[in-house]
Amino acid sequence: MAELTDKMRKEVRAIIIEFFAEECEVEQSEINDSTHIFDDLDGDSLMFLELIEIFKKKYSLNIELKAIGKYSVKHPVRTVGELLTMQLMIIEHENNITNL
């Protein structure tokens, strides 16, 4: 569990945008919070897992997939902005995100 700083928020956003730009072969400038991951980027749900792996390593997170699953049932992720929110929640609350 980590306290989120502005620097971390910027870092997480930059990683997510860089990831989608690279994987989906689009310019970073074409991606913003309202960009739809499936409709606009032809993305897929596996990308969420890959990003979680990246952040797990980067911030040494204690998070289980089933916790993320429970959270995402209540808070479906469709856009880059929603994904950013979910990643920040995971970093901040780790397995406790199920209580949110």
Partner: protein, 408 residues
Amino acid sequence: MSEKVLVTGINVISSLGLSMNENWENLINGKSGIKKISLFDASKLDTQIAGQVPESFEEYSKCYIKKRIRKQMTRVSQMCLTATKAAIEEHNIPISEYDPERCAVILGIVNSANSSVEKDTDIKNTILKGMSNALSAWISLEYGFEGPNYTIATACASSAYAIAQGYDLIQQNKADLVIVGGADSTINPEEIEGFNALYALSTRNDEPEKASRPFSADRDGFVIGEGAGILILERESFAKKRNAIIFAELAGYALTSEAFNIMSPKTDGQGMAKTMEKAIKDTNTNKADVDYINAHGTSTMLNDLYESLAIESVFGENASKVAVSSSKSMLGHTIGAAGAIEAAITVKSIRESQIHPTINLNNADPQLKLDYVANTKREKPIRCALSNSFAFGGHNSTLVFKNYPNNS
């Protein structure tokens, strides 16, 4: 009365090229696609040659498949989707005008070729790359087809079976457009060693281009190939309404089982003959109208002998009037893809009124007495053509294609 099933698109990716036209030019000019294997170090294997898809495929496929999706696909899956997208693009198939629930994809797939030579397989994509059904699924996903999409595995006859199933879907009024075909690669050390253990492969490593020699007295086994073949089948009324280019009519087929041996065909090709007879009968074809047979023609001792005897048995004294050629003499045996690749070539032959040669046929086998279109192409109008596929496991198929009037 059921509507006819028409072929309105064809494409092939193989060792002879990345498009139907490139393949056709090479086939008609008798060029071999067989070379030393470069996908991996084959120097320790008994067989070191194969018909590999050109390395330029990787760059070419990037025009059709996004990086993200490519990572979840094997090279063979990429060949399949690329061949499909290129066919739809080239033949101007107006996908959006079809009811997605009446569009289907049926492919002949032995496996997805997620072998030891496949690059970049890791824990994240191993399941998706390994699913053989992924090949039809990717096409369905790409175009939003909501009709059935599935794969069929009947070894070397897989994609011929898929074409037959596609025919049925249209004939039974369950679909208006069906993408059929197949893709395969067995160019990997495990499967080559496996085929070598069965004494099935040529070991003519010093003369790759001359190794596949169907119907020749000195044939010593087949040569492995790889690739994808796609045909777009369409209901006649739909194709005519949109003024489509019609390559040929798929008039029907026969599928039979040898019920004899897991590897060998029935003595003297009785099962093969029965399959051709049934296909001819079920499509109300006059035997005298069959101008061409694209043979299974593997370059193995038994297949070529028995297939020839079967053709003799079916056509009797007129057997020598039917032109017979083997695409495998140039492409090698593309296993699960062979039925579709050779069906596409058969359709192209009808369209072009030309028959590609059987190459490397300089030493005639005295037991084989048919007209194998040896070494040089032939100009010949084709009213009706058969495409044969006979597989390990005794899966036999004969597809019947007919010239479609006014198909210009």
